[in-house]
């Protein structure tokens, strides 16, 4: 029993061991990143996630960022997506939801736990769309399955999974009104209808692109990046049809 306790203690130590602290200031949106971003700006705060932590910088003096806080999360933190007053942080074992009313000291509201995988997230209204990518490049290759999950956020303290469907190699994603765009790596860009936000319905797939991340520019056009370069498409919000506007190919 003693040995067991000792081991449990070591386990606890192994699980902690990161640090934390606090302080800072705030406001509205600025530029727009993709869903794979580790940097995000809301108001006068620049947020940076590293592998284990969320760091806040006060940029009210834009040429002189000041560290205002730092929160230790867990491990395998990958992405940050600001939406309204919250920060949605994608980690390899789940999605953390923070309230950033006090930007220097974001408060953890809840964590939506899922299988070990790589997982960017985007949010629209009361729903989060998360892609989970399995495979060897993700932690330990613990899972080989990949999926697109819909999470109900109507109670932020208690996020609930509503729906899941298989994907191949999903990376970033973007949402605009009735449409959800999912980058499926070498399998291209997939478009889903989310008129019923709880149930994305597959509409079409553009396999001419290798899709890594996407930014929905406005309700009519999107910007896509992948191994072959940058692509811009306009789209029809009802049908989701994509029309190529331009590309900057890699050389």
């Amino acid at each position: 029993m003693k040995k067991t306790l000792k081991l449990l203690f070591v386990l606890l130590v192994a699980l902690t061991g990161c640090e934390a602290d606090k302080s800072g200031t705030v406001d509205p949106q600025s530029g727009k990143g993709g869903s794979m971003a580790r940097f995000a700006i809301t108001g006068n705060s620049l947020y940076i996630v590293d592998d284990q932590s969320l760091h806040s910088y006060d940029i009210s003096a834009p040429d002189n960022p000041q560290k205002s806080g730092s929160k230790s999360l867990g491990i395998g933190i990958e992405t940050i997506f600001p939406y309204q007053n919250n920060l949605f942080i994608g980690a390899q074992d789940g999605m953390y939801i923070f309230n950033n009313a006090d930007p220097s000291n974001p408060q953890l509201i809840s964590k939506y736990q899922h299988v070990q995988s790589c997982d960017p997230v985007v949010v629209q209204d009361n729903y989060a769309y998360v892609t989970l990518r399995g495979g060897s490049t993700c932690r330990n290759g613990a899972t080989t399955n990949s999926s697109l999950d819909v999470v109900d956020l109507s109670d932020l303290a208690n996020p609930k999974i509503l729906h899941t469907q298989n994907m191949l190699t999903p990376y970033g994603l973007g949402v605009s009104g009735k449409l959800l765009f999912v980058c499926d790596g070498t399998h291209g860009l997939k478009t889903f209808n989310i008129q019923n936000p709880q149930l994305p319905v597959f509409l079409s797939q553009n396999t001419s692109v290798d899709a890594y991340d996407v930014i929905v520019r406005n309700s009519r056009s999107l910007i896509l990046i992948g191994k072959k370069g940058l692509y811009q498409f306009s789209f029809n919000e009802d049908k989701g049809d994509l029309t190529l506007l331009s590309q900057i190919p890699v050389q």
């Binding site: 990143g33 993709g34 971003a37 940097f39 590293d50 940029i59 491990i75 932690r139 930014i215 990046i225």
Partner: protein, 177 residues
């Protein structure tokens, strides 16, 4: 009892926070290990500004209308004038070693340069200016991004670790995770 060991191993492999130099619960050594690739301080912090360059290995993107920023993995940021999305204009490139991420607001672009955070004045995107460097803003792990492997223990006096290479080693290194 075995269960507890399994749990413990799971916990250790999950905790990316630390690596280990003790000799317990360590993985089997197969004659290969990771060796740090170091870069000098001058090389790491050498930021240069160029006219538009070709995309080679693009990473993330960031939009601050009408400009679009495209990361060139580990190398810097392309600035694109996207006033006309049908005809984007590749106007300049900021060479930033170890850069993967960025965000922008107003006339300011923030980017990582290995462990440092940089603030650029982009009021004229053709004449970008480095305004501020915040050291050690983005702590980078000083161990390879793999589990159950051995690696040569980092020596900070040799510079910044910019990569890890897998090499054959006859002697088992002290560090592992």
């Amino acid at each position: 009892m075995n269960k507890i060991y399994t749990l413990l191993l799971a916990a250790l492999s999950l905790s990316g926070c630390k690596y280990h130099d003790r000799d317990r619960w360590n993985p089997a050594f197969d004659g290969t290990a990771y060796r740090p690739v170091y870069m000098s301080e001058e090389e790491v912090s050498n930021i240069t500004f160029h006219a538009g360059e070709k995309l080679v290995e693009p990473g993330k993107i960031y939009l601050l209308e009408p400009f679009l920023f495209i990361n060139e993995k580990g190398r810097g940021i392309h600035i694109i004038d996207n006033s006309d999305p049908g005809n984007p204009e590749n106007i300049s490139f900021i060479s930033i070693p170890g850069n993967y991420d960025m965000a922008a607001k107003g006339n300011w672009l923030y980017a990582d340069n290995y462990t440092d955070l940089l603030a650029f004045d982009i009021s004229n995107p053709r004449e970008v200016r480095l305004a501020k460097r915040v050291s050690d803003a983005v702590p980078v792990r000083d161990f390879p991004p793999h589990n159950e492997i051995y690696f040569e223990c980092p020596d900070p006096s040799k510079g910044t670790i910019v990569a890890w290479e897998k090499v054959d080693m006859s002697v088992k290194p002290k560090c592992w995770r």
